[in-house]
Amino acid sequence: MALEDYKNIIHRCFRCGYCRFTSDCSYLGFNCPVYNKYRLETYSPGGMMWLIRAWKENEIKWTDSLAKILYSCTTCNNCVEHCKFKFNSDIVNVIIAAREEMVENGLVLPLVGRFLENVYLYGNPYRELRSNRDKWTEGTKIKQYTREEFLYYVGCVGSYDIRGQEIARALGDVLLEAGLSIGILGPNEDCDGNEVKMLGEKRLFGILVEKNTQIFNNLGVKKIITLSPHSYNAFKNYYPDRFEVFHYTQILRHLIRNGRLVFPKRLNAKVTYHDSCFLGRHNNEYESPREILNAIPGIELVEMERNRENAFCCGGGSGNFYTDFFGGGEDSPARVRVREAHETGADILAVACPTCMTMLSDAVKSEGLEEKLIVKDISEIVKESL
């Protein structure tokens, strides 16, 4: 919906600030990653609502600093989850609509423009060649999709980021080991567009939806397993309702329940799990990852204080893993989250998202915790226990 369509709610935010916290009435820390970092009222969800309205009412002009504020939102949905008013479901939508208006008026910041241009030209934000999209499969038994039961959709981070590629390989191996019939699109895979949508480039997102849908249709794809919760979110909520879409943790849980995935090896480790925003708050999937971890012999699962709908975002959403509007520092969301994970006494910080992986792995290094805390994807933990 366009910003104009929100004109009856945009002024209704009182800036009471419940959106900055969690729902378990713990007000000790702020759960909005943007506000927690910047602390100025402008960087709160309510502050953004007020600024967007002021911009629309010509009370303030568009500036780079306004754009920076609006792009720093990771669309983690914490505000949507915790705002107490009836219009809560539209808070992030209003921010996305404002970004759409910035795109329409040619007002995007250069970093964002580069992200979007790269996706348009190369099918990924990294400006990597399409032909390299399946290089990560070298040495594996993962094949191109030819009407297998499942399309294994890897996504941009899994295809190109070094750590993401390791996860993509681990999951591919696990799915094959469990006897699943899977194939990938390889060089034919295009960006799912989740971040493009969040950044407000609705035309490019429309092109990606159309292109990907056509490819899926042409190949006879019926079921999709995504590596990334971001892809899962896009396919499930914004693509035509023709495909059955699963995040891989949902498939692994199913395989465990049916006895098709058993764990002969014991992994003696204390593990804490970080909920991805696009799996958790956006799609209400909190239990599959936990059920998998609890099924692995020797794993002691401990929760961080902020978990499930109260989880603290890693800061990577809405393209921030590339644009990096947080710019590091000890209050950057990923570093805050890593410290919280370390406080649990866990040896392993488990994730189910390649974007969270890149953000949190970097943060572990910045915090000097490499010897104490390892970030692993659930697919990797599962593979180790097979």
Binding site: N8, H11, R12, C13, F14, R15, C16, G17, Y18, R20, F21, C25, S26, Y27, L28, Y38, R39, L40, E41, T42, G47, W50, L51, A54, E59, I60, K61, T63, S65, L66, I69, K84, F85, K86
Partner: protein, 451 residues
């Protein structure tokens, strides 16, 4: 060096702004007062940074307005004469909790929510008096505006719970008030000349409080609310009197509003009771529920909306912001003698009808029933300037009504302050001026207030 660069030399660059977005945001609050100009927004982290900013402000003769949560709804933290807004929320350390002497020492930016959660986590048997405001508002801000909390009816206005403070004076000296000026213990401000009064209720015109010690109280195990209804405002002074004679109410509200429909035209009395045993709890319930005459009826079934509204600490009072589907409300905090309630109630309803504003009319008895806060809350639509103007007029008439009835205005917005100054004893006005001039010779601290 320009002022911006000088501020950046004192405080980390990320926390100094003269960008249009921050100037816009800090030039207004969620209440109905018109926006006012701001030149800089600064978020200090330490008392030394505050001190340096104050010294810079003196040198450059630029006003400084300290801000906590910024939720007075009457724009007390929006500068009247421009200058620097000092957003204190990065000074957010809970420094000490003394369990046996029951106090907490907190920095100026610690939120109500943070202190509440901290106590629940580490000292679940203790609590502080929490205002009917969102959890983002600050403990220090509430204390300095003479704010109320859920323990105010039983234990007094929150500012009476201040044990001591650290203040940066308008001339830059760091000064301690109370026992902490003599010893490391922040356990009392009594038995010494009570200098805390120089900073309570002055709206940041006499200094910047950077730390405060607040008294804590036992937290009973059980809590519930009893609800009564009446259609007769004349019964209210007796109701307040009788309830406080029992010494059984933790908190107490009288409320009327036009929404939802079932509340229209009725007055509801909500008494919060607590207990540490079922026996104690049941005794209080039994005694309180049977204490009124036929004009005041006990509701056997507490409306669920009331449980949600009043049992939560802090209660979700911001719900009034959506009464007019418009994200705004402001209220008059009229402090009145008990016997004036019926007339205030009737005449205020006339004001509400005259200006046709969405409202919630609430009374909270203060200081063990020695006075009440008569608080008509006027909701408005921020997108409707005509609606906001009607609310401003209603606020003005209510201010005048309260003063006519012999009351005073709590945390009055600028027009309300002027009304009080016009009526104030001239020697008192002169004393206010003299105190300010002595403390703040250059007139940098939030000028325009109490003038």
């Amino acid at each position: 060096m320009d002022i911006y660069s000088s501020l950046v030399n004192i405080v980390e660059k990320d926390f100094v702004s003269n960008r249009p977005e921050e100037l816009y945001m800090y030039s207004r609050d969620p209440g109905a007062q018109p926006p006012r100009k701001v030149d800089y927004v600064v978020m200090p982290k330490t008392v030394e940074e505050v001190q340096q900013i104050v010294m810079l402000a003196n040198k450059r003769r630029i006003p400084v307005t300290p801000m906590g949560g910024g939720f007075t709804t009457c724009a007390l933290t929006v500068p009247i004469k421009g200058g620097i807004v000092l957003d204190m929320k990065r000074m957010d350390k809970i420094i000490e909790v003394n369990e046996k002497s029951k106090y907490a020492v907190v920095e100026a930016g610690v939120s109500q929510g943070a202190l509440k959660s901290y106590l629940e986590k580490y000292y679940p048997h203790l609590q502080h008096s929490t205002p009917e405001a969102p959890p983002t508002v600050t403990v220090v801000g509430n204390l300095l505006i003479d704010g109320h909390g859920h323990l105010t009816p039983m234990h007094g206005v929150n500012s009476s719970m201040i044990n001591g403070m650290e203040v940066v004076l308008p001339t830059g000296e760091i000064c301690k008030i109370g026992s902490c000026s003599i010893s490391p213990c922040w356990f009392t401000r009594r038995h010494l000349p009570d200098l805390a009064g120089l900073f309570i209720g002055w709206f940041g015109t006499t200094g910047i409080v950077t730390k405060i010690s607040i008294q804590l109280f036992p937290k009973p195990r059980l809590r519930d609310c009893l609800v009564f209804s009446t259609d007769d405002p004349n019964s209210l002074p007796d109701v307040v009197f009788k309830v406080f004679q029992t010494e059984m109410a933790e908190n107490f509200f009288v409320i009327a509003q036009d929404k939802p429909d079932w509340m229209l035209g009725h007055i509801y009395i909500v008494i919060l009771i607590t207990g540490n045993s079922e026996e104690e709890f049941e005794l209080k319930k039994r005694q309180l529920s049977a204490m009124f005459d036929e004009r005041v009826k006990f509701m056997e079934e507490t409306p669920p909306a009331f449980k949600r509204r009043f049992l939560e600490v802090p209660p979700f009072a911001a719900t009034a912001a959506d009464f007019a589907k418009g994200g705004g409300f402001e209220y008059v905090g009229g402090i009145l003698p008990i016997e004036k309630i019926p007339e205030a109630w009737r005449r205020n309803l006339e004001i509400i009808r005259r200006y046709n504003v969405a409202f919630s009319l609430a009374i909270q008895p203060l200081d063990c029933g020695h006075s009440v806060m008569f608080g008509p809350i006027y909701s408005f639509n921020r997108a409707d300037e005509e609606n906001i103007e009607r609310v401003r007029k209603a606020l003005d008439e209510t201010n005048k009504l309260i003063l006519e009835l012999g009351g005073i205005l709590w945390k009055a917005e600028l027009p309300g302050q002027k009304l009080m100054m016009e009526r104030m004893d001239t020697n008192t006005v002169e004393l206010l001026k003299r105190v300010r001039k002595t403390l703040d010779p250059n007139g940098i601290m939030n000028p325009g207030n109490w003038e």
